[in-house]
């Protein structure tokens, strides 16, 4: 007995993932463009070497630091949020793939996507803070 043929992913799934990637990118770019403009206005005459020396992301690595920065309207916090949106976009794409394969009862691909999600979360939440 042979296995039934694996169905081709439908156009709707391709369109949904394309929209997800584009939406995440647009949100991220809007956040970063606005924040960069405000930062440049607030720090006139800033040199590249000074920008390199004062890496503002270091104060926003924790959730509480980022929330406080966003609440007080710090443009560097919004720049960081834009970067986080950029990182989150492909991760959400994997989550979306997992739900598609789950709905279609494709156990092999479902298992693969869940392993990828677990590894991504392990890197972000466990390995990152550990190497810091």
């Amino acid at each position: 007995m042979t296995n039934p043929p694996v169905p081709t992913l439908p156009d709707a799934e391709y369109r949904w993932i394309s929209s997800l990637l584009r939406g995440g990118l647009v949100i991220s770019l809007l956040l970063m463009t606005g924040a960069l403009a405000v930062y440049a206005v607030l720090h006139p005459g800033l040199t590249l070497s000074a920008a390199i020396a004062t890496n503002p992301i270091l104060q926003f690595l924790g959730l509480s630091g980022l929330a406080a920065g966003l609440a007080r309207g710090d443009p560097a916090a919004y720049l960081t949020l834009g970067l986080i949106a950029l990182v989150a976009t492909p991760i959400l794409r994997v989550v979306s793939g997992f739900y598609y394969f789950r709905r279609g009862h494709e156990r092999g691909m479902e298992a693969i996507t869940i392993v990828v999600i677990v590894l991504l979360l392990f890197g972000l939440l466990v390995l990152g803070p550990l190497v810091r």
């Binding site: 694996v6 394309s18 463009t33 440049a40 991760i91 691909m109 990152g128």
Partner: protein, 284 residues
């Protein structure tokens, strides 16, 4: 250099990176990282962190177009991510440890050598437009690793089926390690695995590589963020420029032949490899 002057230059470099990255499946960081170090004096760890951001922007910008046009193969891309993501976690961790041990110049030389290793295989297949007949293995059949795309240049639908999934998974793990270590998409290895082992047409290989590199970069980015290797003042303008370049590149790729894409790919790798090795040895 004043930031007002540096920002337009950073944007230009990033646009070039995004354009080249989206056309070749490389991600664009192989252009951006050496340029940041050589032209702007950005420290290597921060250049590597910015490289990861470059890849994320290229992957989402070009990926959105390639996925919509069904040029990227979602199933094959997601299948192979099970190898690239653990590789990226290993690679990013290694980079943080090597940087703490002051071995950054060694990192640059290693990156250059790794890039040069890819050239002979690509040169050997420079006249190949579409892969010949393939023999799919059991894993390829059971996971349905096949598809077709509409080739605008050939004017017809081109079917394909993956073969040799085991070596492809091995190369993908290595690609993940390289991606995490150097902040590049390691698209050179992903395209190599997709084209040479899975035997996918070149355009499907570069488009699927573009689709995959975002997840690999996201895996390493968490570690690079936490280590303070990502400076948003550098990374944000680079991301903006890269996304713009990748958008243009994603419009160009469907109109090119597979051979042209490969011809764009090879000189980029050679120039960047030599430049990176020289820099690693402290030469201008």
């Amino acid at each position: 250099m004043n930031l007002d002057l540096a920002l337009p230059l950073l944007l230009l470099v990033a646009i070039a990176g995004g354009l080249a990255g989206s056309l070749t499946g490389l991600g664009g960081a192989v252009v951006v990282i050496p340029a940041l170090v050589i032209l702007f004096g950005v420290p290597i760890p921060e250049a590597i962190g910015t490289g990861a951001v470059t890849i994320l922007a290229t992957s989402s910008a070009a990926g959105a177009a390639y996925v919509r046009d069904r040029l990227s193969d979602l199933r094959i891309g997601m299948f192979l991510e099970v190898a690239t993501v653990p590789g990226a976690l290993v690679g990013a961790t290694l980079t943080v440890l090597l940087t703490h041990a002051d071995l950054e110049d060694g990192l640059l030389v290693a990156l250059g050598l790794v890039l040069l290793l890819v050239v002979p295989g690509s040169v050997a297949r420079r006249h190949e437009e579409l892969p010949g007949p393939v023999t799919p293995d059991a894993r390829s059949r059971s996971f349905g690793l096949s598809g077709s795309y509409r080739d605008q240049v050939l004017g017809r639908d081109v079917p394909y089926q993956a073969e040799s999934t085991s070596p492809a998974l091995g190369v993908m793990f290595g690609a993940g390690v390289v991606s995490g270590m150097f902040g590049i998409g390691a698209g050179v290895f992903k395209v190599l695995a997709l084209e040479r082992y899975l035997r996918l047409p070149m355009k499907v290989a570069t488009a699927t590589s573009n689709f995959m590199i975002g997840v690999t970069a996201a895996a390493g980015a968490g570690i690079l963020f936490a280590a303070g290797f990502v400076n948003p003042l550098i990374a944000a303008p680079v991301a903006l420029g890269t996304a713009g370049g990748a958008f243009v590149g994603s419009r160009l790729l469907p109109r090119l032949t597979n051979q042209t894409v490969r011809l764009v790919f090879i000189p980029f790798i050679v120039i960047l490899a030599v430049e990176t090795i020289l820099r690693g040895f402290g030469l201008p």
